[in-house]
């Protein structure tokens, strides 16, 4: 095939690391959620790349990617609802200021 498997894996790794940086470094809770979405997308690229290059005759990789998609949708809905709820009670979604559980 024209494109080697490792290219896809390296692009997915780069996307995952960018999302990881977003999760660790951003101060806004919505931006952190965006980083999580980037990481989930990177995982899906890996699932599809392995499906295409290792076992294209079985749809296992695609099925897994669809489950990741469904869980990502559920995660986004609950996460954003939590953020809106926190914003209502604390008037901020800056992660540095949401430290009620700090001992």
């Amino acid at each position: 095939m024209a494109i080697p498997l490792s290219w896809y894996l390296i692009v997915a790794a780069a996307l995952f690391c960018i999302g990881f940086y977003g999760v660790l470094a951003r101060r806004n809770a919505v931006a952190i959620l965006m980083g999580v979405e980037l990481m989930l997308n990177a995982v899906n690229i890996n699932f599809l790349a392995f499906w295409r290059y290792v076992r294209p005759e079985e749809p296992l990789g695609q099925v897994f990617a669809i489950f990741v998609l469904a869980v990502a949708a559920a995660e986004a809905a609950v996460g954003l609802a939590l953020i809106i709820s926190i914003y209502r009670t604390r008037k901020t979604i800056n992660i540095d200021n949401i430290d009620l559980l700090r001992g």
Partner: protein, 164 residues
């Protein structure tokens, strides 16, 4: 050859958009960069001959999740770009850590030999996906649908305005 050129262009586009997502100071710009990233990933899916997932990516991620994120930004917009900066105190460590993780992963992935094959994709892949959802993977499928229902009800309960 053409495929490789398209792949490299789309990879650069996707990663650039992703970098914009995590570095943009204005949260709304970050959300628009996120939409670009999702579109780039959908093109990568097309290059992998996974058309069903490419369409699902556009419908679910761009159509639903990005819209949801933009709504959340608008509902909590009082701090858009006005405070001291988008990054927290540990951003330098985070950047170093993720760069290190990427270097290690890239070195590993370019060296490990995977048992790849050049078999063509069967023409009835979408049919296979559909029948496996009501066959082999019926229990995970049902669990996923229950999860979505629970998440929906939970999201409504969490975001509801409470009186008294």
């Amino acid at each position: 050859m053409l495929q490789q050129v398209i792949f490299i262009l789309m990879a650069i586009f996707t990663l650039g958009m992703a970098l914009g997502t995590v570095t943009a100071r204005n949260l709304f710009h970050a959300a628009l960069f996120l939409v670009g990233t999702f579109a780039g990933v959908a093109v990568l899916y097309v290059l992998l001959e996974a058309e069903f997932l490419a369409v699902s990516q556009v419908v679910v991620y761009i159509g639903a999740i990005a819209t949801l994120i933009i709504f959340a930004i608008m509902l909590s917009r009082s701090m858009m770009g006005k405070e001291a900066g988008a990054m927290n105190k540990q951003w330098l460590f985070a950047a170093g850590g993720s760069a290190l993780l990427f270097i290690v992963l890239a070195m590993l992935l370019s060296k490990v030999p995977f048992a790849t094959q050049v078999a063509p994709v069967p023409p009835d892949t979408i049919e296979q996906i559909g029948s496996s959802f009501v066959g082999v993977y019926v229990i995970p499928f049902e669990v996923a649908s229950v999860l979505l229902l629970v998440a929906l009800i939970g999201a409504i309960m969490l975001a509801r305005e409470r009186h008294g």
